[in-house]
Symmetry: C2
Subunit: 202 residues, 2 copies
């Protein structure tokens, strides 16, 4: 009996994530309304809150899927590169991130639109998904900077992710950095192709 | 007579920008409501729209002041650096940008929160203010990369601004890149200290 209730609950959960994902893919976070989702899933609004603590939890579940898709695309770019050229690998990964953001803008924006009030509130499975992405960056970075202390590699991994994110964000928003979309790839290449293991003398 | 009307209009304009600036400094774009500003300025709501096309125009006027303050702080950081060390200058500028964003978060966020629908809608004086900031970056960049074509210097200027913006944005939001605030300076230093004029062999 308890198993049956649990199965019903799991089914509703999966269904709600599916519906929310479709909406987030097309319109982003603004398209997520409990009333609409309840209608679509054929349940009461209250039933949603039995399955998810709040709408943020539901959006987080969709974001986890989006992060997985980012990871898959970035991994594929890494694998398509010949080994032994970590700078090229970093550039290819950054381009893959740009292409993902360009082709999946509403879902990608939702990764960053969600209010995350405190670090403690972020679920572990979310941080694990993120960690996988950082590992993809840290690997070539360690090969570019073989003598860099582990702590600095970790910091630079997050720094470079944030840097590429900034280029993609301002670039796609055609905002401050107002650069034609076809120049964004070259912009990323320029920044990365001058990263070298020798600290600059200047 | 016309002069008197114009003066009254100019006074109201200046007063509204002052009031809006106080609100944006404390609470960002969410604190800007026409009704509240009208009350504060002792005018009708309609009078605001006689002076500014819409609330976005008013926020743009405040953003222009904020950009000027960013520029002043970044310029001061450049001037405090000994000449002949363009990489150090770039790092000092980036740190100054981080400090500005950290100490003026609501106003800084408002620079990017405003919807800018098309490039054509951005007023010239706004783009000029932005151009001044880019010039500050392009100068040391040209000294680091003396042989880089002018077009690439321009692209890299915007790329590096976006990169630093990304680091500051994700860093201050304690979001994806979740790095302790006191490590953000070091993160920026790490990224920039490995920028060299020799393209990486890796």
């Amino acid at each position: 009996m308890a198993g049956k209730v649990q199965k019903k609950r799991d089914d509703l959960r999966a269904k709600l994530i599916d519906f929310a994902e479709v909406r987030i893919k097309s319109g982003g976070i603004a398209d997520i309304r409990a009333r609409d989702l309840a209608k679509e899933a054929g349940c009461a609004v209250g039933a949603i809150y039995n399955v998810f603590g709040d709408m943020n939890d539901l959006i987080m579940a969709v974001n986890a899927r989006t992060f997985k898709r980012v990871g898959t695309q970035v991994s594929a770019a890494v694998e398509a590169q010949p080994p032994g050229h970590p700078v090229h690998t970093m550039i290819a990964m950054s381009h893959a991130y740009l292409h993902f953001a360009r082709d999946n803008t509403p879902a990608w924006r939702t990764l960053f639109d969600l209010e995350v009030s405190t670090e403690g509130a972020v679920p572990n499975w979310y941080l694990e998904e993120l960690q996988k992405l950082f590992t993809l960056i840290a690997d070539p970075l360690r090969r570019i900077f073989p003598d860099m202390p582990a702590e600095d590699v970790e910091l630079m991994t997050r720094g470079l992710f944030s840097a590429v994110h900034g280029i993609v964000l301002l670039g796609l928003e055609k905002r401050i950095s107002a650069v034609p979309a076809d120049k964004l790839e070259h912009m990323i290449t320029l920044v990365f192709s001058h990263l070298t293991s020798t600290p600059s003398e200047k």
